[in-house]
Symmetry: C2
Subunit: 159 residues, 2 copies
């Protein structure tokens, strides 16, 4: 089973330039996946999946959020969000109720249990610190570059 034998031995300059975009997108993909993976076990202990955790974090920060608003904040559409919120309701962390003034909206509300979960979840963020091995400055830089990229993509997506 040969390893690391390059097929296209002599990579052209063009190749090299194109490579960066792909490598960046791969690093992003892999890094996000690995980070989610290390969060999995700690989250399991408090009864959340990663996606459910993202939703709960949003609810811990803001109140009176409609499903639509949550989705906009965490980049998820109703196809993903509806079942996630329903599961959170089943676990007793949130309640869902239609808004009286506009029955199209579903308001998602923290329950007492959901609010209490915030304390249990307080040690979760340390998971990343213990595993990522970046200095504080590096972490800040990474964070701000990711947000800048995210903002760029959000503004004008021309595929």
């Amino acid at each position: 089973m040969g390893t690391s034998k390059e097929i296209m031995g002599n990579a052209t300059n063009d190749d090299a330039i194109l490579k960066l975009g792909n490598e960046l997108c791969f690093s992003l993909y892999a890094c996000a996946k690995e980070v989610i993976r290390i969060y999995r076990k700690p989250l399991e202990k408090i009864g959340l999946t990663y996606t459910q955790y993202i939703v709960m974090m949003t609810l811990w920060q803001f109140c009176d959020m409609s499903a639509k608003e949550i989705g906009k904040k965490i980049y998820l559409d109703s196809g993903t969000l509806t079942p996630v919120i329903k599961k959170l309701e089943k676990s007793g962390f949130v309640k869902r109720q239609r808004v009286v003034e506009d029955e199209r909206f579903v308001k998602v509300i923290l329950t007492e249990k959901g609010l209490k979960l915030k304390e249990k979840a307080s040690t979760i963020p340390q998971t990343l610190e213990r595993n990522i091995y970046l200095s504080y400055d590096e972490t800040m830089t990474l964070h701000s570059l990711l947000n800048k990229a995210l903002k760029g993509i959000k503004e004008g997506t021309k595929i």
Copy 2:
């Protein structure tokens, strides 16, 4: 539908420190998802999904790869990889064959069609450049920080 009203008005210092870990993990999650989203349409044109593209990129770089080796390189286990590779085989881009010397291994081999696809895919990486709005230096920094983080996670994962 109230927006941006913080429930826990007075965030403690502790909160602030913990917040960074969570925000970083969220930015990673969101950014990776958005990048995959903008790759979707261009990839669809050449008949690949994002995951299939990652596998093909790996095969364009190396030859004689077993499923195991591919999985290690792109952080995927057989549960994900087996069906993806089978789909690539169905599309005619790769062939799968058991290794004679050790029947446990499946060797994944590019077909003529799979090799030719590399040229069609040559414009794909520009997708990111057109959408991410980072300078060359920023892109390089982001890339290296992601790889450093990835390496850190890979070395010793203590959850």
